[in-house]
Amino acid sequence: MLENTPKVKLRGLFKIFGADDKSVLPHVQDGMGKEELLEKHKHVLGLQAIDVDMQAGEITVVMGLSGSGKSTLIRHLNRLIEPTAGEIVVDGEDVTQLSQADLRTLRQEKMSMVFQKFALLPHRTVQQNAAMSLEVRGMDKETQDTEARKWLERVGLGGYEDHYPSQLSGGMQQRVGIARALTANTDIMLMDEAFSALDPLIRTDMQDLLLELQLELKKTIIFITHDLDEALKLADHLVILKDGAVVQQGEPQGILLNPADPYIEDFVSDINRARVLRIRSITNPLKSKKFAGDVEADDNLESLIALSEGDTALTYRVMSDGEPIGELNMRDLVKALVPRISSTQAA
């Protein structure tokens, strides 16, 4: 890895659910599949051979259908679920080796979590909920109050401090959940399908809120979702899980343009590619002399199609931070809009 050492590093992570998981581990390591394991040994395969690096300050999105093990994966990071085998290294420290007391300290100070079903304390006010993490740590009341107030304000809940969770809508409850995680002031935030229970418009709002906060806070966020649009919108690094194994991971644009197998091709085939793909991802080296105009590398293809008014003969110069970094022919753009689907070609 060229970049600095990853914030969270998973190496050879296995999870098998069952009474005697250690003894059936060798079978799985020898390549036994999920169905066979269930049939022969009555154990359920949760995760197999997970190797993922999560960089500091990035949003790593783990995506997969239900049952693919994504929620299991995120619960390994703070050891809400014990792994069968493998390493979970956070800031150079192997989480699997921690004592219970050290583990609690890690959960209090290094990781906070946002839940799909909010999991707020119903008998406490919004303010008290947000302050929970500090209260657990034994901070004085004043710090708890000011911190909780600050972050509630930040997620747009100023004025709701004395309400109870049941008085708020789903979206607002999840804002409390996010404020609670932010108040903990941890480097790492785990978000387990945090927006999946919200309706689509609210979900978009929340995604924007998260991106806006991230721009400023630069947390290491691990985000679980089953929604590809959400994954592509948020991800700096995208990990796709299937049956407990990583099928492909990398930069989301790259996955979109070069899906590794039919499972992912199926996934990405329904996407509005013009909106998701960035000009940067399909830029070629500079060759031509004449350009129809300059475009920003981080704009999406949709904006360029609008700009060119559909003329495929044009070539644009791609600019980033005021410097030309390459060119883009409208023909390449049109080609990139068509998903490469080997399965349908074969059929």
Binding site: L80, R104, Q108, K117, A119, P122, H123, R137, S166
Partner: protein, 344 residues
């Protein structure tokens, strides 16, 4: 000639059997037989091979009445040991009961009424419940049943507090350990299904009649069951997602219990307390047979002396007391529920 002689003859035990001719007193049947007036028994009257029937055939077998006597002697033999242990442990219960009874019967009526209504207001914040309670208390006083009613109430309150002090921790421990739950539930079932008279018998032998802990223990044993059950259930029913959140933010076991589990289980625990109060009331009437004071004594007098009016009047007071306690504790429960899911 007894029915089962053949059995011991066949086993070759005749000599052993006759070695000790029973010196036990004769049974009524034997006496009848000796007088020669024995009724000719029909051929189908074969006795079940009970201890008594076998004893007739073989003197070595003990008779049932000896077993009964053995039980009694066994119990009396361990009684001193049990009392050395139980006496000091249960002594505070006597003090609590006597003290509370003294307070409730000696303080002037207007003070007690004011105190009870204040407690009602604090617990329920409901004007209607308070008015109802004021009506009931005035009624007791009006028909000159205030003192026995207050005695009953005092006993119930003490037993409720004791049940909560022991029941809630037991319930919490049960919710944490499946094995403990499996062990405790049969005991709870036993306490609930045993006819109340049955455990009055050993208690009478263990504690001197006239000491208040005798009925205190009888009532508590009966009334503690629902609060244990509902504490256990309540904590087990707490939303797993919220507990997971507690874990994810690094709560230790004690923080989880005090900040998450107990508050969320509180409605169930309060429902258990309500049941405990109602069962104390049921038992305090029965326990009047072992000197529990209060309205139960009047009911008992009504039964013993066939004084219908006395029994009925005490019965009416008991019903009113029951409704009072039930209303008050339910109103307190719903106040907690409201606080939990506050919709302004």
């Amino acid at each position: 000639m007894a029915t089962y002689d053949w059995f011991f003859n066949a086993l070759g035990l005749r000599d052993w059997c006759d070695a000790s001719t029973s010196e036990a007193p004769m049974s009524m049947a034997d006496l009848l037989a000796e007088t020669g007036n024995a009724v000719e028994e029909p051929f189908y009257a074969i006795p079940f091979p009970s201890l008594d029937a076998l004893n007739e055939a073989c003197g070595q077998i003990t008779q049932t009445r000896d077993v009964v006597k053995g039980l009694e002697e066994g119990f009396l033999a361990i009684r001193p040991a049990l009392r050395t242990i139980l006496d000091p442990i249960t002594q505070p219960l006597s003090w609590m009961l006597d003290g509370t009874l003294y307070l409730f019967t000696q303080a002037p009526w207007f003070l007690i009424m004011a105190m009870l209504l204040l407690v009602t207001w604090y617990a329920t914040r409901s004007v209607s419940v308070m008015l109802f309670n004021a009506f009931c208390l005035s009624f007791f006083a009006f028909v000159d049943h205030f003192e026995p009613a207050m005695e009953t109430l005092a006993v119930i309150l003490v037993c409720m507090v004791i049940s909560a002090i022991f029941g809630i921790p037991i319930g919490i421990a049960m919710s944490k350990s499946n094995r403990l739950q499996r062990m405790v539930i049969p005991v709870l079932d036993l306490l609930q299904t045993l006819p109340t008279f049955v455990y009055l018998i050993p208690l009478i032998f263990l504690f001197p009649i006239g000491e208040s802990r005798l009925y205190g223990i009888a009532i508590t044993l009966y009334a503690i069951v629902p609060i244990i059950r509902l504490t256990d259930l309540g904590i087990r029913l707490v939303d797993q997602d919220v507990i997971e959140a507690g874990n994810a933010f690094g709560m230790n076991a004690r923080q989880k219990l005090s900040k998450v589990e107990l508050p969320l289980a509180l409605p169930n625990i309060m429902a258990g307390l309500n049941q405990t109060i109602m069962m104390s009331l049921a038992m305090v009437v029965i326990a009047s047979m072992v000197t529990a004071p209060g309205l139960g004594v009047l009911v008992l007098r009504g039964i013993r002396n066939l004084e219908l009016g006395v029994g009925l009047m005490a019965g009416i007071c008991i019903v009113l007391l029951a409704v009072m306690l039930d209303r008050t504790s339910k109103a307190a429960l719903s106040r907690i529920d409201r606080a939990k899911s506050k919709t302004s």
